[in-house]
Amino acid sequence: MNARKSSFAIGFVVAATLLIVLAGLLPGAKMLSFDTVLRALFAPDAKIDSILVWTLRLPRSLAAAVAGTGLAVSGYLLQSLTRNPLADPGITGVTAGAVAPIVGCFVLLPWISSAYYPLVGLAGGLAAASVTFWVARGGNGRPLHLALGGVSVSLFLGAITIYVLLLAGPQSTALLFWLSGGFQGRTWSHLIHMLPWIGVGVVGALLLHRVIAMFALSEHAAAAMGLQLDVWKPVLLVLAICPVAGVAPVAGPVAFVGLAAPHIARLLKPQGTIWEIALTAATGAFIVTCADLVARTIAIPKELPVGIITALLGGPVFVYLIQRGRLDFQRDVA
């Protein structure tokens, strides 16, 4: 696929996402007609319909799109960095690493402003990823070792998180909602808080697409092409974790998006890394907006957490990838 076709594919996915965002403005506890939504969008007034659209539904859908973009790019970077098609923020323990210290701060250090939560998440995510990668290196970075390392780290952090929730008392309900992943009641300010972190990840990945392409080949090749591995590895890791750190305080853990989006994007066979990254980002936005729409419409007036929807969709993708991925696990036999 050449650049023109690739940009066409991206345009298509972006348009589809916008369509879902638009469609998502209609349903809810109060159903709005298409006319009402259009009027509210282009000629907002002080009526309830406009307020519904502008302060509740639109920011929430856009937050879902932006979060999806970030998670997808994070997954793409982790997959390139580890040359492991099963890598994603959840599998590598990054998500649990970002989520656990945020829960800890919320409950145990409540004087820390929530504005610092992305920083806390970044530090935790980096720490968790470092442990996982250190473990995976023992297995020469094979998919199984990475997954086992990441899941062990996640299980450990999960046990601690549950204990902190237990200490949280009445606050635990709100925390559990957040832990199940979702965008209920998210506002413009949430969106704005998330943006810089996701922007860093997405823009950074697009700018560094040549470095990422070299990494995706092999470390030897990258070194042979004169790449400073010691410099670029941590840079890419931070770029991969920034979006997760930005999404975590707002939406909690949204599983499997980072895993599935790059693979779905590659099905469209974009030409070149930069197009792959852009298409992955668009696909991530599409997946999460769809999941969010399903989550809030499938059981009106109750809402399901988005995390459940993405998990139910992503689990089968994972199994499919394992079955089809031509990954040589047999060599891992101990």
Binding site: S152, A255, I322
Partner: protein, 344 residues
Amino acid sequence: MIMASPAQTRSAAWLLPSGLALVVLSLVAAVFLGVVDIPAADIAAALSGHGSPEARSIIIEIRLPRIVTGILAGIQFAVAGLLLQTITRNPLADPSLMGVSQGATLTVTIFLLFTVYIFEPGSNTLAELPIAWLPAAGLAGGLAAGGIIYLLAFRLDLSPLRITLCGIAIGAVLHALAIGLIAGWGSARIEIILEWLSGSLYARTWDHALFLLPFTIAGLAVLPLIYRPLVLLQLDASVAASFGLSYRRQFSLVLLVSCALAASAVGAVGPIIFIGLVVPHLARFLAGRHFPLVIPLTIVLGAVLVTLGDLVGRLVGGAEEIPIGVVTAILGVPVLLALLRKVP
């Protein structure tokens, strides 16, 4: 089979007696130490059915049942881990890595959330929850998760290691479902569920121990039957087949036993992670090349580690005790990471 040298056999002969001594020691410690300080003489009196009523009720109704439940659960987790590690030929398999624990967690969560509407309409108190049913609910979920693994393994013709990866995915999905359900429908019961979810022996009664007992016995009784396949499965599937082993049948049997052991234990005491993972490794490390010792050592160490872990949680936390699940997580992680690094 690899033969042990005489020297190894001699050192192995010491292992079991010292292991049993460790069991007795940890048992005594768990009975005698606690938040409420009771003089040793009173405890001895209580154990023989005399002594003050308070001492008797603390020992007989609170400490002993939780110790016995812990021992049974510890044995079950450890043996389940050993069996899973053997059939998946993955030294790092564990019920919580294969989705079995998460399956049990999901059904127990559903049970805790919705039973009140089935059994006791209109009431919302802990006392009226039919808690003795929890292990059964856990068993159903764990077996269902095992069934999914089984179907994937033979429908998709997956290698043992791919099965492990699929187990990770299944576990993630089931975990997300459980957390979502608690968030959406938890209301007044969130604390009860969290308490259970953190893996705790708090307030376990003789009912829990009695429920687990048949599973422990059945699980241990099956072990001699699957001993030969277990040894052969340490090798390769094709080697095992050349010894006349039906891999598929043995895989199914061992998977079933291990799921039943892990799931009933999760139902009774919550998902205590790392016991199933770490104990078989410790046992293998201690037994060296003397494979027959691995199974008894696994049983002994499973019982001891849970008893001691619970004791640590009780003593360190004071009145607000630290759940055993958290203790095993904190103590198990360094061991686990070291193991992960070393496994080729």
